[in-house]
C-alpha cells in the first residue's frame, strides 16, 4: 500500500539527501576553488570538523532518544579548563585527562538524572546546566585562559598520524566507529532508538528509563569532554569561553544528517555527513573569499532546508 512504500522510501531519500548535498557541495567547491581539492585542504577540513563531530556523535544519541542537550559546549569548556588546570597545578597528563573526561561523564549523568528523576524537560534541564557550568568555568578560570605547556598533551590535538593525518581526525573516526557499533550492534543502541520512537512503549517493554537516560546523557557529556580535551590541546590553552554556540552546531549537524528532532529516527553516519557539510561549507566559503556575514546566511539557509525536510516526514 502507499504507506508501505513511503515509510521506506521517504527516510531513505532524506538520508541520501544529506549525502547528495555533501557530494554536490564537494563538486561545486572543487570546480570553483583550485585550492579546495588538495589533500592538505581536505585533511585540514576534517580536522576543523572533528571537534563538532565528536560533540555531534553524542548529541545524536540524545536526539535519537527524543531529548536535546544544550550543555555540551559548556561541558567542553569546563572539562577543558579542569584538564588544563590540573596539568598547570603539576599533575600528570593522564590523571588530568582522566579527571576531565570523568567530569564530563558525571556532568552528563547529572543532566540525565534531572531529565529522568527530576522529570525536567531536557531543553530546560540542559539550558540550566549550560548556564551553571558556564558560570563555574568562569569561576574556575577567573576568566583568563589556562596555558598548556606539556608537549605530549599538545600532541593530542596538534599531532599527526604518520606525518599525514591530524590526530583529532583519528579520534573522530575512532569515536565514530565505537558509537556506530554502540548504536547498531548493542542492546543499548536499540533501546536508545526505542525510547525516542515511543518512550511509553519502551518502558512497558521493560526498558528501564532512568539508567538509560543517565547513560545517554552521560555519553554526550563524555564526548563533549573528549572534544574539550582535544580542543584544549589544539589551542595550547583552555579558554573560559570555549565552545560557545557549539551546541547549536552539533544539533545542526545531527539534523542535517537526517536524524529527526522528534527522536526515534536517524543514523550516526548522517551526523558525520552533517558535520562535514557544515565544515566544507565554512571552508569553501572562506576559500572563495565570501564575506563572513554571508557565510552565516548561507549556513542558516542550509539548516532551514534540512529542518523543512524533517518536517515533511
Amino acid at each position: 500500500m502507499t504507506q508501505v512504500n513511503w515509510s521506506r522510501v521517504a527516510p531513505l531519500l532524506q538520508r541520501l539527501g544529506s549525502v547528495i548535498g555533501l557530494l554536490l557541495l564537494f563538486i561545486v567547491l572543487s570546480v570553483m576553488s583550485p585550492d579546495f581539492l588538495t589533500t592538505g585542504n581536505l585533511l585540514s577540513v576534517l580536522r576543523q570538523v572533528s571537534i563538532n563531530a565528536l560533540i555531534a556523535f553524542g548529541m545524536t544519541f540524545v536526539i535519537l532518544a527524543g531529548g536535546i542537550d544544550l550543555s555540551v559546549g559548556a561541558i567542553l569548556a569546563l572539562t577543558g579548563a579542569v584538564t588544563a588546570g590540573l596539568m598547570a597545578a603539576g599533575h600528570g597528563m593522564l590523571l588530568s585527562m582522566g579527571a576531565g573526561l570523568g567530569l564530563g561523564l558525571v556532568l552528563g549523568m547529572v543532566n540525565g538524572a534531572l531529565v529522568s528523576w527530576g522529570k525536567v524537560a531536557p531543553f530546560i534541564a540542559t539550558l540550566g546546566t549550560m548556564t551553571l557550568l558556564r558560570g563555574l568555568t568562569l569561576v574556575y578560570t577567573q576568566g583568563t585562559p589556562i596555558p598548556v605547556t606539556d608537549t605530549g598533551f599538545a600532541l593530542l590535538g596538534g599531532g599527526y598520524l604518520a606525518h599525514l593525518i591530524p590526530l583529532p581526525v583519528v579520534w573522530m573516526f575512532v569515536v565514530f566507529a565505537v558509537c556506530g557499533f554502540l548504536l547498531r550492534g548493542t542492546v543499548f543502541g536499540r533501546h536508545v532508538v526505542a525510547i525516542g520512537g515511543n518512550e511509553e512503549a519502551a518502558r512497558l517493554s521493560g526498558v528501564r528509563l532512568p539508567p538509560m537516560k543517565l547513560a545517554i546523557y552521560g555519553l554526550s557529556g563524555l564526548l563533549s569532554a573528549v572534544a574539550g580535551v582535544v580542543l584544549t590541546s589544539r589551542l595550547y590553552s583552555a579558554q573560559a569561553t570555549a565552545g560557545a554556540g557549539y551546541e547549536l552546531d552539533a544539533i545542526a549537524s545531527v539534523v542535517l544528517g537526517g536524524t529527526s528532532l522528534a527522536g526515534g529516527r536517524g543514523w550516526l553516519f548522517g551526523t558525520l555527513v552533517g558535520a562535514l557539510l557544515i565544515g566544507f561549507l565554512n571552508n569553501g566559503l572562506n576559500l572563495l573569499g565570501v564575506s563572513s556575514f554571508y557565510q552565516q546566511v548561507v549556513k542558516g539557509i542550509v539548516i532551514l532546508i534540512a529542518v523543512l525536510l524533517d518536517r515533511r516526514q
Binding site: D35, G40, T144, T151, L155, P166, L235, Y236, S237, F293
Partner: protein, 311 residues
C-alpha cells in the same frame, strides 16, 4: 589475552607514528617560494579578524581594504566570530589558499600559537594586528600601546578630578590582551593617585552589557565620580545608564569609534582614548606588501593613541 597483546602492540605502533609535524611541514617544499606568493597575478593577503561585531574591527578591516586597493594586493577576509577554534580553522583555510601573508587579529593571545606555527611551516609569514600571540614569533606586531592608553585615561581622570574620587571600571572580555593591558595601565596609574577603583566588572566589550553592568554598579555604589570603560561600546552603555540620572559622572572610553567620538563631542563622554584602527589595518597591509617585496620590516610597530576630549 592474545587479543590484548595485539591491541597493545597496535596502540604502541600508532603512538610511535604520531608526530607534531604534519604533511609537507617537515621541510620547506621546493615548489613554494619564500613568502608563498601566488605564482602569477596579484599577491593575495589574508586577514583573519577576531570579529566584525564591533565597529573597531570593521574600521580596521576598512583601513586594510583601502590600503590593499592602492597597494595592488588582493585581500581575503575571514571572521572568527570571537571563537579561537573557529579562528584556527579560518587561518588553516588561508594557508590552504596559499595566501602570501596572513594578517592575524587574534581572538585571544594564548590560543593561536599553533595556527601561527602552521602558517610559518607553510612559509607564510604572519603579522599580528591589535592583539599579540603568546608563544609564537611573528614577522611583525602592529598595535596600539594599550598599557600607555590605560595610563592616558587614568592621567586624564586624575587631572579632571584633582586626584580624588571613586571610579567604576568596566572590563572587556576576560582573558583578552586588550582587557588585560588596558586594565593594567589604568589600574597601575590610578594606584599612584589618591583615586580609588570601587568596582571592576566585565561587560565583555558590549554596549548592552555595559548598560546593565553600569546600572547595577551605580545602584551599589552611590558615590562615584567616574567610569572608565575599556572600550567605547561599554562606555556608551554607561552613558545610557547615566542618562536621566542627575549625577555628574565622567565617562572615559577607549578606541575612539565614530559613536564614541560623537559622544565625546556632545558631552556624553568626557574623553576617549582613540585608537586608529584604520591605521592599524592600513599599516598591516603595507607591512605585508613589504614582506612580499622582500623588504625588511620592523618587529613591532606601535600605532599612536590619542586622547580625544571635547576641546
Amino acid at each position: 589475552m592474545r587479543k590484548l597483546h595485539f591491541l597493545a602492540a597496535a596502540a604502541a605502533t600508532l603512538l610511535a607514528a604520531c608526530s607534531q609535524q604534519g604533511p609537507g611541514e617537515s621541510a620547506p617544499s621546493s615548489a613554494s617560494t619564500a613568502g608563498g606568493a601566488a605564482p602569477s597575478g596579484t599577491p593575495v593577503v589574508g586577514l583573519a579578524l577576531s570579529t566584525q561585531n564591533n565597529p573597531f574591527f570593521v574600521e580596521l578591516k576598512n583601513g586594510a581594504e583601502s590600503a590593499a586597493k592602492s597597494a595592488g594586493v588582493q585581500l581575503v577576509v575571514v571572521d572568527a566570530q570571537d571563537d579561537p577554534a573557529r579562528q584556527i580553522s579560518s587561518v588553516e583555510d588561508l594557508i590552504q589558499k596559499h595566501v602570501s601573508v596572513i594578517l592575524l587579529n587574534p581572538t585571544d593571545s594564548s590560543a593561536l600559537a599553533g595556527a601561527v606555527q602552521s602558517a610559518q611551516r607553510a612559509n607564510i609569514p604572519v603579522i599580528t594586528l591589535d592583539r599579540g600571540v603568546d608563544g609564537a614569533e611573528v614577522a611583525s606586531h602592529i598595535a596600539s600601546d594599550n598599557i600607555a592608553g590605560g595610563k592616558m585615561a587614568a592621567d586624564f581622570l586624575a587631572k579632571q578630578l584633582d586626584g580624588k574620587g571613586n571610579i567604576i571600571e568596566l572590563q572587556g572580555v576576560a582573558g583578552t590582551s586588550a582587557a588585560r593591558e588596558r586594565g593594567k595601565g589604568f589600574d597601575d596609574a590610578i594606584a599612584a593617585t589618591g583615586m580609588k577603583i570601587v568596582a571592576q566588572q566585565p561587560a565583555n566589550f558590549d554596549r548592552a552589557q555595559g548598560l546593565s553592568v553600569s546600572e547595577n554598579l551605580l545602584q551599589a555604589h552611590g558615590d562615584v565620580q567616574a567610569i572608565f570603560a575599556q572600550n567605547d561600546e561599554m562606555a556608551l552603555g554607561a552613558v545610557q545608564a547615566l542618562a536621566g540620572k542627575n549625577k555628574k559622572v565622567l565617562v572615559v572610553g577607549f578606541d575612539g569609534t565614530p559613536d564614541g567620538k560623537a559622544a565625546v563631542q556632545n558631552g556624553g563622554m568626557a574623553a576617549t582614548v582613540a585608537q586608529q584602527p584604520e591605521e592599524i589595518g592600513k599599516l598591516g597591509v603595507e607591512t605585508a606588501k613589504k614582506l612580499i617585496d622582500k623588504q625588511p620590516v620592523e618587529k613591532t610597530i606601535a600605532v599612536p593613541l590619542k586622547l580625544l576630549t571635547k576641546e
